[in-house]
Symmetry: C2
C-alpha cells in the first residue's frame, strides 16, 4: 500500500469512526486529498474494498498493541489500564467514535467480509481479556474467564457510546470505574 492509499485509509477510518460506513463517501475522502473520486477508485475499486482495508488495518494495529502489552509483563490491572487508555485516546477531545463501535452498530449493513473482520476484532479483544483475567485469577476456568471478558468489553464499548452520545467524557470515566470491580471479582 503506497502513501496515497495509506492516506485514503486514514481518512476513511476517521470518516467511519465519525459518521459510519453508510454515511461516508468516496467524494468526501477525495476532496480532503484534493483529488477526484475516480482516483480513489483506482486505489480501492469498491467501497467494500476500502471499508475492509480500514477494518483490517484497525485489527492488525490492535493485534500488535495487545501483544506488546502482553510482552511487557506488567500486572493484569495495569495491562487493563493500558487497554482502556488506548480506547480513551481514540475518543477524547473529538466527535470520533471508534471504528469498532461504528461498524458494530452497522453490522447488518456491511459487506460480509467486513462483518467477519469485525467479529474477529471482537474475538481478539475477548481472548486477550480472557488471558488477562486468568492471570489475575489463576483458579478460574476458561468459561468463567471468557464470560468475565465479555462483561468488561461490553462495559468498555458502552462507556464510549454513552460518553459520545452525552458529549460528556466523565461518562466514560465513571463507567470504566467498574472495569476494575469486574476484574477483581
Amino acid at each position: 500500500m503506497n502513501e496515497t492509499a495509506e492516506r485514503i485509509v486514514d481518512l476513511a477510518e476517521l470518516a467511519i469512526a465519525t459518521k459510519g460506513y453508510s454515511a461516508f463517501s468516496f467524494r468526501e475522502i477525495a476532496a480532503h486529498l484534493d483529488i477526484k473520486s475516480a482516483s480513489v477508485h483506482y486505489h480501492f475499486p469498491t467501497k467494500a474494498h476500502l471499508g475492509l482495508a480500514v477494518a483490517e488495518r484497525y485489527r492488525a494495529r490492535y493485534e500488535v498493541a495487545l501483544q506488546q502489552i502482553a510482552r511487557e509483563q506488567i500486572s493484569p490491572i495495569n495491562a487493563l489500564d493500558v487497554l482502556v487508555n488506548i480506547y480513551r485516546q481514540q475518543i477524547s477531545g473529538s466527535e470520533r467514535m471508534t471504528v469498532c463501535m461504528m461498524l458494530a452498530a452497522e453490522i447488518n449493513q456491511l459487506p460480509r467480509e467486513i462483518q467477519l473482520e469485525m467479529r474477529a476484532f471482537y474475538q481478539l479483544n475477548i481472548t486477550w481479556l480472557q488471558a488477562l483475567i486468568q492471570r489475575q485469577h489463576p483458579q478460574l476456568n476458561v468459561g468463567a474467564a471468557s464470560i468475565r471478558a465479555r462483561q468488561i468489553f461490553a462495559l468498555l464499548q458502552g462507556a464510549m457510546m454513552g460518553a459520545k452520545t452525552q458529549k460528556d467524557e466523565d461518562y466514560f470515566e465513571h463507567a470504566i470505574q467498574a472495569v476494575s470491580i469486574l476484574l477483581n471479582q
Copy 2:
C-alpha cells in the same frame, strides 16, 4: 397521529433499529405500506420529522414502562431484571438493534432535535437506575449512585451491541450477569 402515521412510525422504528437513521429511506417505508414515498411525506414532511417522531415515541414508551416498574414496588434486583428483560426482548430473535443504540452510534449525523431526544432518553434511564440503586443502597450518596447507574447502563448497551455483532445471544446473557454484580457492590 392517525393509523397510517402510526404504521409509518412503526416501520421507521424497525428500520432505524436495524439499519440506522442514515441508511433508511422514505421509499423503503412506503413500499412496505404499498403506498408512494410522496404519501409518507404527507404525514411527515421531512426525514428529521419522522426520525424525531420515532425517538419521541420510543422515549415516551420507556417513560411509561419505567414508571410502571417503579409503581409495582418490587425489589431493586427484580426491578432491574424487568428492565433488562425489556431490552432483551427487543433484540432477541432478530437482526434488530435498539433504537437507542443505533441513534447513539449515529449521534453526529442526526438533526439537533433528535440528538437532544437521545440525550433525554439516556438521562431517563440513568436517573431511573440511580433511584433504584439508592433503594438498594440507602447509605449511598447521589453522586455515587449516578456513577453506578452509568456503569450499569453502559454494560447493558455494550451487551446488546456485542450480542448483535457476534450474532450470539449468549454474549448478551454473559455480559449482563455483571449487572447484579454492580448493583450489589
